[in-house]
């Protein structure tokens, strides 16, 4: 059997080895005109309002059911652009490779990154590679640039009284997939990491007057909705029965004493839309590739009797009311 080829400090020297790594792994995957210029910085066209976001991706394991860090680092950043109504256009990638990383694994991840970028319609226009001491790990930072159509205002504080609250699918899948791998629980759960461009474009092109979009990542739905309630100064009321959670994620949470409302996703969003457009928005989501599990989960209320500004309430299955707050601490598995 051929020996596994791994990253060494030499690959970060900036010399011959670095050049070979870029030539063999990155250049073929990311090939495009802008990168092809091989200049110190990328010069691209753009005008009007620009959306910019950056995110660093640290995940163990690097490859998991339903995705890998390459797909993840595109989806995370692209989705953040989309949540302001921006059309994602460019992406930069900074790779921090740990000594000992298998080159074949890196190749696979880079390929996945490139495929996901193509799917999401973004061009990779700049990149960087560094090598640090370590244990075969990999950290990726991506910065995304998008253009925001004139007149569009989608923001966390825009929810208004009477609006409907929708989610684009089941909650907790990504978090459960990762935790399952780490705790070696054999599971059919797959990460949901996906770019949400089709859903957002569908809503906007379909004439939905979208108030707010948020992707449901770390902290889970509970955290996201509580933040939206606070940002808008309204009270969000959701129905426990209406929040989609797959049976397998529900049982996974049951096993570990976790709450699906505080489990992260990487390919789901919350949308706040005018009540009269809720059914139409739901239909658009359901017809999109990553929105088949979409649901209307609740509504936005003003401050009034039994409701306070900035509050998140959930009507429970048995008819009780639960007040929710943001995730506290870390979602650790527990038995007690």
């Amino acid at each position: 059997m051929p020996e596994t080829v791994r990253i060494t400090m030499e690959h970060g020297s900036g010399g011959q080895a670095t050049g070979e790594l870029i030539g063999e792994i990155f250049a073929p995957a990311f090939r495009n005109e802008v990168l092809g210029q091989m200049e110190d910085s990328a010069v691209v066209s753009g005008s009007g309002r620009i959306a910019v976001t950056t995110d660093s991706f640290v995940v163990t394991p690097l490859v998991f059911r339903g995705g890998d860090i390459g797909r993840l680092c595109v989806c995370g950043t692209v989705n953040d652009l989309l949540m302001r109504g921006a059309v994602p256009r460019y992406l930069t990638c900074g790779f921090i490779l740990e000594e000992g990383l298998e080159i074949e694994l890196l190749r696979r991840i880079v390929r996945s990154l490139a495929e996901t970028a193509a799917e999401a319609g973004v061009q990779i226009i700049a990149g960087d590679t560094k090598v640090i001491e370590g244990n075969g790990g990999l950290i990726i930072n991506t910065t995304g640039v998008g253009s925001v159509p004139d007149g569009l205002d989608i923001s966390a504080g825009n929810a208004g009284e009477g609006d409907a609250v929708l989610v684009s699918g089941t909650m907790g899948d990504h978090h459960a997939a990762i935790l399952g791998e780490r705790l070696q629980i054999e599971s059919d759960i797959e990460s949901d990491c996906a770019p949400l461009g089709e859903i957002v474009k569908g809503l906007l092109d379909g004439g939905i007057r979208v108030r707010t979009l948020r992707d449901v990542t770390r902290g889970g739905l509970g955290t996201v909705l509580k933040e939206l309630a606070e940002a808008s100064g309204k009270c969000f009321i959701i129905e426990e029965d209406a929040v989609p959670v797959s049976a397998r994620v529900r049982d996974f949470c049951g096993l570990l004493g976790l709450d699906p409302l505080y489990m992260g996703n990487e390919g789901k969003l919350v949308a706040v839309v005018p009540r009269e457009q809720a059914a139409e928005a739901l239909e658009i989501m359901k017809n999109a590739r990553y929105g088949s599990g979409a649901a209307v989960i609740g509504k936005v209320a003003g401050a009034g009797e039994g409701t306070e500004a900035g509050e998140l309430l959930m009507r429970t299955q048995i008819g009780g009311v639960r007040r929710l707050t943001v995730l506290q601490g870390e979602g650790l598995p527990r038995i007690c």
Binding site: G180, I185, E186, D251, G254, L256, I335, C336
Partner: protein
Amino acid sequence: MCVAMPGRVLSVGERTALVDFSGNRVQARTGLVKIEPGDNVLVHAGCILQKVSDREMEEMNAVMREMDELL
């Protein structure tokens, strides 16, 4: 305290049994109660604590009848 979940036994090994929880499979430690494939069992911290009675409805109905008579 004491998070525990019901699941279904898929297969039984020497010291463990494979228990399914809607698509999550755990090698749960056996040794506290006799089990066979197909049994519904209660699992706590990776161990099978008890079999789940398949007569739950009947038993619960009996409890409820008793409660009606409690006053």
